[in-house]
């Protein structure tokens, strides 16, 4: 179980445990939220894990966590699992995320179309150099990097670019750890890879950012283009799921209230892309709908 029941103390006095787990993409955001919440409510004991979106849902449906972070919406199998455990839940979008496509600074490329990306990354692709995609591009032999098959980023990218979740060429170098991918691309003259935008932000000097042309011209990811979803199709929403059972605990409710109320600050602290006002409003409403009588 998630821990002891806490009493809903007065302003800033929420106490008791709150178990948050799930996506590692959302982790920085959840961590910053928990930290802020903890400062206001010293009695509250928030834990944040990063079991991954799938791992998070597993625990969440089993009733082990109060809040589950997710970098994608919940899937059929997971819904089934939750149903089986009689766990009912609600979904809140808490931030946005983009996937950055990057190359080694030595590999000069400014923009790729989704079609080119697909040609490069799809199942069975044996593209060895960018020149095979476009004669103007360098013919450096490529070293491909990407997240491991276990991450939400992988699922999202393969879905959006290759059209089927999990469909990808297999001779790239995957890692679950985005830092490792940064290392890989930065360390390999022919390095090309994709991963969460924030990792690009932190390593701009080592990487060359590639714009993506999803039909509407070449757009480079940035906080703004991700937030307004103009960086297509590689922008995505990030979620927190909360269960009914958890919401009964006043501290959980207080926590979620805090998250929504301070969404922008938290996102900034976490160096993650904040919600648009519209998105924020939708989440706020969703939360208040959840609020127990």
């Amino acid at each position: 179980g998630g821990g002891d029941e806490g009493d809903a103390g007065g302003g800033g006095g929420a106490s008791g445990t709150i178990a948050v787990d799930g996506s590692s993409t959302v982790f920085p955001f959840a961590q910053a939220a928990a930290e802020g919440f903890g400062q206001e409510n010293p009695g509250a004991r928030v834990t944040v894990g990063e079991s991954g979106t799938g791992g998070g849902f597993e625990k969440f449906c089993a009733g082990e966590t109060d809040v589950s972070n997710a970098s994608r919406p919940i899937k059929e199998e997971e819904i089934a699992a939750c149903r089986k455990a009689a766990t009912r839940y609600a979904e809140l979008q808490v931030a946005n995320d983009g996937i950055a496509v990057v190359t080694n600074p030595g590999l000069k490329v400014d923009c790729l179309t989704t079609a080119q990306l697909k040609e490069l990354w799809n199942t069975g692709s044996d593209v060895k150099t960018l020149r095979e995609l476009d004669p103007k591009l360098p013919d450096t032999e490529l070293s491909l990097f990407g997240p491991g098959t276990d991450s939400g980023t992988f699922d999202f990218f393969t879905e959006e670019i290759n059209g089927e979740e999990g469909a990808t060429r297999k001779d790239y170098q995957p890692s679950e750890d985005d830092n490792v991918l940064v290392q890989g691309v930065a360390g390999d003259g022919g390095g090309l890879g994709y991963f969460g935008f924030s990792y690009y932000e932190q390593n701009q000097d080592k990487l060359n950012l590639v714009g993506v042309d999803g039909g509407g011209g070449c757009v480079k990811p940035s906080k703004a283009t991700i937030q307004d979803n103009s960086y297509k199709p590689l922008s995505r929403p990030l979620f927190m799921y909360v269960s009914d059972k958890a919401l009964v605990k006043p501290q959980v409710k207080a926590f979620l209230d805090f998250v929504i109320a301070n969404q922008a600050t938290v996102a900034e602290n976490a160096q993650i892309v904040a919600l648009t006002p519209a998105q924020l409003e939708r989440s706020r409403q969703a939360l208040s709908r959840l609020a127990p009588a």
């Binding site: 179980g1 178990a19 920085p28 930290e35 903890g38 985005d178 932190q202 160096q271």
Partner: protein, 282 residues
């Protein structure tokens, strides 16, 4: 004769090279870590909770989490490990298949990868029969089970090192078997057992994979308050920091590694002290 001598000198050189290379590389690693992390090494590090802001982040909760884990782990492995060792050494009749099974089993467990223990901890302690949740107790027991074979094997060796003449001497005075074990064998084996326990704990303290699998949280902004409290631990925190995109966290991670190494150093020093202090040539 001089060819012999030359070979001797060459061999010496090669051996020295082996050792130097080993020490050199490990020294390089340490240097790498220390030079990265030294700047962040301060008391504050231990007085602060983790944070999104690398400037403010510390490992208080991870440190105390580790302390709790180790304490609980020790409280588990010492009685169970010693009891098992005593049973195997003093009571078990090796002719019986079940006792041989236990023996072989312990040896096997010692070789099982730590990650498998993570699976076990998740399935049986956090969930399943015990359903403890992701609390100190579950983490400690997982690590405990992981290093239990180490303790059992060390304790067995320590107990075996107590010469049987001590046992016979005691029994011949009319002491019962348990009196003999409790008053003679165990006291004499304490240094060996203690060394084994410390070595086991120093293995447990650095384990990351099983805790990850058990699903220990990485952001915990409070110190454990009991066995049923959520927790994080030093290696988890270090791993987390290493995985953060901001380079400042790498420095923090290095500082965390230094802290962990210092804990290790302390424990090893204790083990060495114990070993030297009580080393006994029978």
């Amino acid at each position: 004769m001089s060819a012999r001598r030359a070979r001797e000198v060459g061999f010496h050189g090669v051996l020295l090279g082996c050792l130097s290379l080993s020490v050199l590389l490990l020294g390089l690693l340490l240097y790498d870590v220390v030079s990265d992390g030294a700047s962040r090494l301060s008391v504050d590090l231990l007085n602060r909770f983790p944070s999104f802001d690398p400037q403010r982040a510390g490992l208080e909760s991870a440190f105390w989490g580790t302390v709790w884990l180790m304490g609980t782990c020790a409280a588990f492995i010492v009685p169970v490990g010693v009891a098992t060792a005593v049973y195997l050494e003093e009571y078990a009749d090796r002719e019986r298949w079940w006792n041989r099974l236990i023996e072989v089993n312990v040896q096997n467990l010692a070789a099982v990868p730590s990650i498998v223990y993570g699976i076990l901890g998740l399935a049986f302690l956090v969930r399943g029969p015990l359903s403890l949740g992701r609390v100190v107790l579950a983490g400690a027991l997982t690590l405990g089970l992981l290093v239990l074979p180490v303790v059992i094997i060390a304790a067995r060796e320590a107990i075996r090192a107590v010469p049987s003449s001590i046992r016979e001497g005691s029994l011949a005075l009319g002491a019962t078997q348990w009196q003999t074990i409790w008053r003679q064998v165990l006291p004499a084996a304490v240094p060996g057992i203690a060394t084994g326990v410390i070595l086991a704990l120093s293995r447990a303290i650095g384990e990351t994979a099983p805790l990850i699998l058990v699903g220990a949280a990485t952001f915990v902004a409070f110190n454990p308050s009991g066995l049923d409290s959520g927790f994080t631990a030093l290696p988890l925190q270090i791993f987390n920091w290493i995985s953060q995109p901001q380079p400042e966290f790498k420095v923090l991670a290095a500082a965390g590694i230094i802290v962990l190494l210092m804990l290790l150093l302390t424990m090893n020093a204790a083990a060495i002290w114990l070993r030297n202090r009580y080393e006994r040539k029978w």
